[in-house]
């Protein structure tokens, strides 16, 4: 029982870290998305993914969920983080701003 509680606590801590890192990404991306909407679709893509990630982290942090629901949100979370990491790689390749540091915090937390 105690072990389960500890796991939940650890999980909640990790999700809070992910949430904070994701907020930072969204914050950092905002001026780029606004200024370069037309030219740089990668910013839009990353921002859309960050928003999606935020929704699912919030859903898990937000309240008690059925096992299936939690599993669903978690599996979206992993997939979204994967797509964010790839988009970030492409931003690096085109020599644009890329929020590597907070993104790494997310991928490490999910690893």
């Amino acid at each position: 029982m105690n072990e389960q509680r500890d796991n939940r606590k650890e999980m909640s801590g990790l999700l809070s870290d992910i949430h904070a890192a994701n907020e930072e990404i969204q914050q950092q991306l905002r001026p780029y998305v606004q200024e370069h909407t037309y030219i740089y679709p990668l910013f839009q893509r990353l921002a859309a993914l960050a928003e999606e990630l935020g929704e699912h982290v919030s859903a898990i942090l937000g309240g008690p969920l059925e096992r299936n629901e939690a599993k669903y949100h978690l599996s979206v979370l992993f997939r979204t983080a994967e797509a964010m990491a790839e988009t970030n790689e492409m931003l690096k390749a085109v020599g644009r701003f890329h929020p590597s540091v907070p993104l790494q915090a997310i991928t490490y937390a999910l690893a």
């Binding site: 994967e82 790839e86 988009t87 492409m90 390749a93």
Partner: protein, 751 residues
Amino acid sequence: MAWETPREDMSVYTQGEIDKWVYSTCGICSNGCGCYIAVKDNRIVGIKGNVYYPVNRGRLGPKGENQWWANNSLDRLTRPLIRNRSGTLVPASWDDALSLLVEKTKELLSAHGPESIAVYHSGQLYLEEYYTIAKITRAGLRTHHVDANTRLCTATAEWSLIQSFGADGPPACLDDLDLAEVIVFIGRNSNETNTVLWERVLDARRKRGTKIVEIDPRLDISQKMADLSLRPKSGTNVAVLNGLIHLLIANGWIDHGYIQRHTVGYEQLERTAARYTPELVEQITGVPERDLRTCAEWIGTSKTTVTVLLQGVYQSMDATAAASLVNSMHLIMGKIGKPGAGPFQHAGQPSSMSNREVGGAGFYPGYRNDENPKHLQEIADLWNVDVETLPVGPQTHVMEMLRMIEEGHIRMFWVIATNPAVSLPNRKRVIELFKRVFLVVQDPFFNETAEFADLVLPVALWGEKEGTMTNLERRVNVLRKAVDPPFGLPSDLELLIEFSRRMGFRDRSGRPLITYRTPEEAFNEWRLVSKGRPCDMSGMTYEKIERLGGIQWPCNEQYPEGKKRLYTDNVFPTAVDEAESYGRDLQTGRARTREEFAAIGANGRAILYGIDWSPPLEWPDREYPFWLNTGRNVFHWHTRTKTGRAPLLQLSAPEGYAEIHPDDAARLKIQMGDWVRVSSRRGEVIVRARLTDSVLPGMVFLPFHYGSVLEQEAANELTLDTWDQVSKQPHFKNGVCKLEKWLGKERDRDE
């Protein structure tokens, strides 16, 4: 039907009688022409087309006719090479070479786990070899890091078919080109890349008045011969296709009954396409409104249309989105699964299809979805391994492998039958990364990648081994062994089997993981693995394939002689437990979950997508004012490993060049044949200028075939290393560059 008249194309160089003609398949492009190999004194001395083979009726392209020269090339590798302590590659015995390979593999597995090893192979091997790679990597090494150069040529075709229909497999076939009223080519340059197919199309036009539409920024010969030519700006395919769909819907050239019965997602498609008025499309793409309208009218009012795509779509921005829109365009007209109608998404290489079928890259064998526990269990049972040991998770595509090398996760990179030091984008980075890993190169020749290898394993070439290949229309054909390999070289299959044996890979009963010894035995195992899946080959045997002149899958009890075209019953493999993948979001590339896929509710119906155009990731600016485009020419195949050794082909196109529009050349005072420097944010090349109106003003085209380590001529010094978010195919077509006249080389030569 086309090809009523056979024509026996032949290229033979010998004196006296030919000893024998051996049944085979051309190993160059995805058309998969039937041929016979000429043998004299246990040497390959020529080739002729198979006049009975339905794909080509005896015809061969220039590359196909000349491919056999490579077999006799004097610079064939004869022995393995090992890099010694002083950094030199030195000849070694087979035992030493394989011991080193096994020792290194075991050491890495033990110290860093399966994720430290990656295998990157080809679209030019045989089905049996791909199947063995799939089995050894997944069930032996237990790594998910297995990909192939098919990622560079055919991944988008595969993914667009999965997104729309639930599983891979081109719905149309070559016969449809003979029957269609209208054939639309998008980004294809058929005249140079697939000459036999192009000849067939011209034959159909002569006989039936088929209308040919070409959509491509390059005004190549096929474009010049077309009845209608659309030249969109680089990276605007999605806008063109949305514009066509807009007009088809607006003019009522769609089949509402078909849409309702056999598709989902129409509302989203209609809503998105509604925004793409011809005026907006002209603004984005540069395609005149009237041409777009004519194109839509021809497509919409014809009874039958085939749309054929290739790298102009697959290697461009939003590739999978564009290719899926082509599928959607056919679906809303109900022009699929019928004679003369269908989207023809296909591969570029001779056996890319085989690779996809057997799980050599990406998915599990038989188009099985590794996210589906049922599919995974099937494979585990077929291979007699524990399901928990099979690797799952995101597929590691080659661009991701490079990142993993950069971060130190991948430490051994095993390259088989491909030449990534020339063919991958941003080559400077690629070469630097190759220096960081234990690099194994398995190839008949000392190619550019081998320059950086730690271990080189020479192998047999086409004509020197047996196996099968699947062509662009799902037709499987046998390639018989014509001669013994020189110097006692093993085939790729033999080498892989020996590696597995030395590694001691076993199934859960303790038997060797690989029990077959010959290609035919491997094929027979694969037949069982394919049973019940879309690419079912359970009804095929080598003897039957040869007797029938190739067989198109599925071939089973229901279709004992194969099936010409897919989806004739309008039922698509989109049921959750049938689909090859749950798909990805086309805009962001985010993988869908099982629940999300189920929620689409396709369940046997095809899936339509509405997707907006996004601009390319690089855009001409002051510093780099030209679009950069790369592609093939008629004389060479890929990095010239084979065609560069055929005298006629090499003499015809011996060195790299840049195609430049005469207006741009005049402005920059560049004349035909001048040396020019083309540079991008990644690197630069110095090549001869070719002035031609085949490129639009403001665009530079370079063939990607050239790239010796000494010459500064590799197009991939310049290309952008970003990729399609869904298929992970690199954006070879959408970079930017700078162009200037270069005097250096001229001066050097004058001196």
